[in-house]
Assembly symmetry: C2
Homo-oligomer: 431 residues x 2
Amino acid sequence: MSGFGVRSLRQIFRCAIIQFAVKGDARREEKRMAGLVGRLVVGQSGGPTQVINNSLVGVIEEALAHDQVTGVYGMLRGIAGVLNESFVDLARESKGTLALLRRTPSAALGTVRYKLKPEDYARIVEILRIHNIRFFCYIGGNDSMDTAHRVHLAAREMGYELRTIGVPKTVDNDLAYTDHCPGYGSAARFVALAVRDSGRDTEAMGRSSPVKIVEVMGRNAGWLTAAAALGRQDPSDPPHLIYVPERPVNDQAVVEAVDRIVGERDHCVIALSEGAVPDTGLEEVDAFGHKMKGGASDYLAWVIQAQLGLKVRQDKPNYLQRSFSACMSHVDADEAYRVGCAAAQLAVEGESDIMITLNRQAGPAYLCSTGTAPLAMVANDERRLASEYIDKDSSDVTAAFVDYARPLIGTPLPPLGRLARYPVPRKGEPK
Amino acid sequence: MSGFGVRSLRQIFRCAIIQFAVKGDARREEKRMAGLVGRLVVGQSGGPTQVINNSLVGVIEEALAHDQVTGVYGMLRGIAGVLNESFVDLARESKGTLALLRRTPSAALGTVRYKLKPEDYARIVEILRIHNIRFFCYIGGNDSMDTAHRVHLAAREMGYELRTIGVPKTVDNDLAYTDHCPGYGSAARFVALAVRDSGRDTEAMGRSSPVKIVEVMGRNAGWLTAAAALGRQDPSDPPHLIYVPERPVNDQAVVEAVDRIVGERDHCVIALSEGAVPDTGLEEVDAFGHKMKGGASDYLAWVIQAQLGLKVRQDKPNYLQRSFSACMSHVDADEAYRVGCAAAQLAVEGESDIMITLNRQAGPAYLCSTGTAPLAMVANDERRLASEYIDKDSSDVTAAFVDYARPLIGTPLPPLGRLARYPVPRKGEPK
C-alpha cells in the first residue's frame, strides 16, 4: 500500500530521462531479470465513466514500451471476453485512435457485470495459457477488483504464472485505499455544473415552480451528490439542501427546511442522492400510499408537493453523469491515464494481486502520486462519504469536503454573473 | 417582415464606420427626428434558456448608445415587474457584470408566466407613463409576444406613445416567421452531446441493458428532439430512433424497430420527445393499466420492457436542456445578443408591434441577418417540425434537417474515437 510514492513521481515525470534510485527497485529488478515474458490483456468492467478509456490507453501505451510484453490484447466485455475467447489486438490500433479515445466516454472494449462461477476459473486460466497471456489488467470498481483477485488466485492455484493488476474506476468514488477514483472528478464536474445551472433556472422561475430536485447517482455513497456543492460561488447559491445515502432522510425535516428556504429566497434547490432513503423506512412510505417505485426524487417531490403545496421540478440526468464528455475534468483524465500506465508497468515489474491507488501529496499544490493496495482488501471494502464531510444537520457538506473535492474537477468552473439589481424608486400607487 | 436585411448587415458590421444608404432609412430618419425620448424597459418571460441573458445585454448595450434613451430599466419577473412597479436600473450595472451575464444561463431579471387580465392594461400604461418609459422590449416566446402585442394595443388605445418590440427566445424553436429562435442552438447542442455520449454508455453495456431512452423537451414541437441526430458521426451512431410530437407514435412499430435494432447491434438508443404520444390515444394506454403519469418516456420504457423483456434505461435531463451552459453554442449566444441589439435599435428608430427575426442568408457560409415580423402574427402561430425534416417512417429526421440545424449548434462537436477491434484468432475450444 505504500513505497510507490517515488516510483509514481517517475510516472509523472516520465519525459525526464533521469531515473531515481529508490528503495524497492532492487527487488523489482530481480523480478525483471526473472523475465516473465508474454502478452498483456486488458479489460473494462462495470459501469463506464467519462475517462475509463484514458486508463485503457494508459495500459496500452505503457505495455507497448516494454520488451517483455509480446502483445497487447483487449477483452471484449471484460471477463466475458476471456471466457468467450473474444480478444482484439490493441497493438494494431493507430495512435490517432488512441488519442481520440482519450476524450471518448464509455468503455471502448465494452463492459460487463458478470460474477464468476466456480467452473469459470479453469476456463479462464486455460485461455490465458493458450495465448501466453502473462499480464492481466482489469479496469473497474469493487466487483471488478474481486474478479481480478479471483483470477490471480486461480492462476496461482493452477501453477500458471500471471501478474494481475487492478485499475480503479468509478464515478461513485467508493473504493477504499485510494484518495479518490478516476471517473469521479469528471462526473463530479458534471453534477456541479448541472445543479448550479439548473438551480439558476429555478431561481428565475421563482414562486411559480419554486422547488427543484436534481437526482444524483450513488446508491450507497454520497460522494457524487456532495459534489453539487462545488457549483456554489456564494454560500447562498444552489444547492440549498444536499441529501446523501449515509444519513437517513427525515421527511419532516426536509419539508421544514424547504418551507424555510422558499420563504427566505422564493426557491429551493435540492441535490438528492438516488440512494437517500427516508428514515422511516418503506412501511411508512407505503402508508402514504406511495410505493417509491419512481425512486428517491419522485418520493421526495411527492412529499413536498403534498405537504407544502409547492410545485416541484425534477432533473434526472442519470447516465449523463457518467458519460457527458463535454466537461471532462482534465485532472481526472490525466489520472485515469496514469493509473493505466502504472498498472502495466507494475505488472511487467512483477507485481500482482494489487490495485493501483492515488495518493494525495502534501503541499500547497494538488498532486497525486500512484501507489498500490491489495486487491482483496479493495474488493471487500466500500468507502462511504466520510462523517467529517457531512454537515451536522445532515443536509449539506462541510468546507473540508469542498477542499477535498475541488481539485478533482479540474479547471475552476467559469464564473456566472448576477445583476446588482439597483432598485428604481416607486412613483405609482401600490397595486 | 422584410426590408431590414441590409439594416441587419449593418447590425453585423457595427464596428465599421461606413453606413449603408438603404431604402427605408429616410422613413426612419423622419421618425427619429420626431424624437420620441424616454426610458427603455426590458423584461424576460417564459422558460429561461442558456442565452436569454445575451439578449438582455444586447438590449441594454444598444439602448445606452442612443441619446433618445434617458434610462434603461429592467422589469423583475417580466410583465409582473411592471404591474408591481418592480424595476431595476440596468444602466448602473457594471460592464463586468454584463460580460459575465453573456455566459450566464437563465433569466437574470427573473421570469414569469402570467396571462394579462383586462384590468391590467390601464395599470401597465399608467406605470409606464409615470416613469416616462417609451421603449418596451420583451424577450420571450409566443405567449410573451402576445403580451407585448397587447401592451402595444393598450398604449395606442390610451393615447400613450410607446414602441413595443419582441425579442424571440425559446429552446423549442417553435416561433414562426424566423429561421430559428435564439435559445434553440445551445439546447440543441446539449441534446446532441447528451444522446451521443449516453448512447456510447448504452453501447458499452450491450445486452445487459440494451435500450436507452433520452426524454427531450418539446410538448408540441420536435425540433429539440430532432437535434439528437446532430450527435451522429456515422449513420449507425445513436440515436437509432427519433420520435417527435408531430407524428403519433405507434407502439407496435416502436417495439418492432427496437427488436430489430437490438438484434443487429446489441443496443438501441431512442431520442423521445416528451410530447410524443401513442397513436392509440390515452384510453388504450389505460387499458394497459398505465396512466402515463410518468410521461412519454416512462410509458415507452414500460411497453418495451413488457413486450420484449429488455432492460430499458432512461435519461431525463429536463431543465438541464435549457440551462446547462458549459456547452453553449457561440452562434446561438451571438445571435441572441444581436436580436437584443436590433430590438433596442428599432424601438429607438420608431418601429413598434414587431418581433425581431433571424433570416438565413443564401451563400456558402452560414449567416443570419435580423429582420422583423408583426407581433400578432408571431403570437398566433406555432411552427412545428417541418414535414420535409421528418423521415418517411416517422422515426428519424432527414438530411435536410441536419443541414438546417448543424450551423446553429456552433463549433463542430469534438469527434469521438472507436477501436478498430482487430480480431485475435481463436485457439481454444469453444466454450
